[in-house]
């Protein structure tokens, strides 16, 4: 195993994300995830800047780093200009690369790759009404069910170009555009990550 602190530092975002934490805890005070989960961004910043390799490995293996909701409220309030939410992105990246994620997290990331990941590569949208099924989204309520059932009549009324050629909301994204996205994925590591997540 290499030096984990050095590994994290290699990420181009690292130096801006963690300058020097003074442990004031304002990030934890403002954090919606800290209120809901056993999660503490202050402790995470402190663990990393102490450069304790065992503690960093334990952090990478923990479920705690998956609690952040990426609102980035921490960025706004940190008096030292640290960005705990960005540190989380770096930790999660290496937790996945190093194979440190537990079964539950791996299962969840697999599910995200199956849904949002495939949406991007197959239709060019992160989300699309065809892929937000009322059965899997009961919180969307009966209006959503009605919309999905009647979308071919309702979408044009709202000026959308549902599955149509040319510009407009919900237009069909043409194959040549999707092909360029896939090529970008191939040469930037996106496809490698997708393959890893889908095969786990």
């Amino acid at each position: 195993m290499g030096n984990l602190f050095d590994l994290l530092s290699e990420d181009s975002r690292f130096n801006d994300a963690l300058k020097a934490c003074m442990n004031c805890g304002i990030c934890t005070a403002i954090c919606p995830a800290a209120e809901f989960y056993d999660y503490d961004p202050r402790k995470i910043c402190d663990t990393i800047q102490r450069k304790d390799e065992n503690a960093i490995e334990a952090l990478l293996r923990s479920d705690m780093i998956w609690a952040c909701g990426q609102c980035l409220s921490c960025k706004t309030r940190c008096p030292r200009g640290n960005v705990p939410g960005e540190i989380i992105l770096i930790l999660r990246k290496y937790a996945q690369i190093q194979g440190y994620c537990g079964d539950f997290v791996r299962q969840q990331q697999h599910q995200l790759a199956e849904t949002v990941g495939k949406n991007i590569l197959e239709i060019g949208y992160c989300v699309h009404p065809d892929r937000v099924s009322p059965a899997k989204h009961p919180e969307q309520g009966p209006i959503w069910e009605w919309y999905v059932q009647n979308i071919e009549q309702v979408a044009p009324k709202l000026g959308a170009n549902y599955h149509g050629e040319g510009p407009g909301a919900l237009r069909k994204i043409r194959e040549e555009n999707l092909e360029e996205i896939r090529k970008i994925y191939e040469c930037t590591g996106g496809q490698k990550l997708m393959d890893k997540l889908l095969n786990e």
């Binding site: 706004t76 009605w146 009324k157 919900l170 040469c187 930037t188 990550l193």
Partner: protein
């Protein structure tokens, strides 16, 4: 005299000639809002705004859910910028607040790390043969509506005034986190005193409610909403906001983020069905409007062409307070006037 902090944090917003990039969430849940924005820009403000057919997702939701690497998102963003370049535009206007945060972050990374810019150019060239230049001006569409709010006011048929009491309507404004929390100087009024929606509400006759959890996240949480078993996080955060705003009795909630508008609408329904609880006195819930919908309504656009029927919390009570005329028979008709079935009613939330 009250110090107006937001005045110290203005940003440059181009006057004309914009390249519009659509939002995955906005197109999915409130496509009428994007239609309205383009109509307002072209028909009311007489601006040149380009709607590119070859555009696509920025991958932002995947990036913040840790299934898309930075380099991939960065290069997808570069492809979108190359489309803007090819169309002859320099002012980029992404409809989504997540995208606005993503684009701003990528441009900032390139500014401070030229090696990353060069690497992105190489990736894009290798994958697509394209070249790109970042935009000269990058703003959110709500910035543009804010900029031209007084010009729009002159064209408006209605004001944010309760026609029964003559008093200003009371609004909760919710600014999407990624509008100004990541890069505070990129938002009108910065992150602690964002003025982008306040400016619209006050200019158009309304009154803004200040409440304790005003700046709290709506609870999207990316992987938290997207994974069914994590959605408790999402609804709990919206609930915290609703409980905090309830005593102030808002007439409506205004948002500038596609996700926030959807969550604050749908979670009110969920909480009503789970706990028999609404955050208004009558049991209808608090209507949630997008800034495009609000602008369109006050300009006199048809609520059912704006897409208000897609909201689970119904808006007729608000329309009546403003005095907006609408045809209830048109609500559940299709584009060609065909009569569609009426949606099922929630068990608790009044419709």
């Amino acid at each position: 005299m009250t110090k107006r902090y937001w005045n110290e944090y203005q940003k440059e917003i181009a006057d004309d000639h914009y390249f519009y990039e659509r939002s995955c969430i906005r197109q999915t849940f409130f496509p009428g809002s994007e239609t309205a924005f383009l109509k307002i820009m072209r028909d009311e403000l007489h601006k040149d705004i380009y709607d590119e057919e070859n555009q696509h997702t920025c991958t932002g939701i995947g990036y913040h859910s840790d299934i898309v690497p930075l380099e991939t998102t960065m290069t997808v963003v570069a492809r979108l910028f190359s489309l803007m370049n090819a169309a002859g535009y320099t002012n980029y206007v992404p409809s989504c607040v997540t995208s606005f945060g993503i684009f701003t972050e990528m441009v900032e990374i390139w500014k401070h790390n030229p090696a990353m810019l060069e690497k992105t150019r190489e990736y894009l060239r290798k994958a697509t043969g394209r070249e790109f230049e970042p935009p000269a001006n990058l703003v959110h569409p709500s910035d543009i509506i804010y900029k031209f709010r007084m010009e729009l006011k002159e064209k408006m048929k209605y004001q944010l005034v309760n026609r029964f009491t003559g008093k200003p309507l009371r609004a909760v404004e919710h600014v999407g986190c990624h509008y100004a929390k990541i890069f505070p100087e990129k938002g009108i009024g910065k992150s602690e005193f964002p003025h982008v929606l306040v400016g619209m509400i006050e200019a158009w006759g309304g009154e803004v409610i200040d409440y304790p959890e005003r700046r709290h996240c709506c609870g999207f949480g990316f992987r938290h909403y997207l994974l069914q078993e994590n959605r408790g996080y999402s609804v709990a955060n919206s609930k915290k906001k609703f409980e905090s705003m309830e005593p102030y009795e808002p007439d409506f909630i205004l948002t500038n983020c596609p996700g926030c508008a959807m969550f604050m609408d749908k979670w009110q329904y969920t909480i009503a069905e789970m706990e028999n609880k609404t955050y208004d006195k009558e049991g209808y819930g608090i209507p949630v409007l997008t800034y495009e919908e609000l602008t369109g309504l006050l300009l006199g656009y048809d609520p059912w062409k704006l897409g208000l029927q897609l909201h689970q919390v119904q808006s007729e009570n608000l329309l009546n307070k403003i005095g907006i005329k609408y045809n209830p028979d048109e609500k559940y008709r299709g584009a060609d006037g065909q009569i569609l079935p009426i949606p099922n009613r929630p068990k608790f939330l009044k419709q």
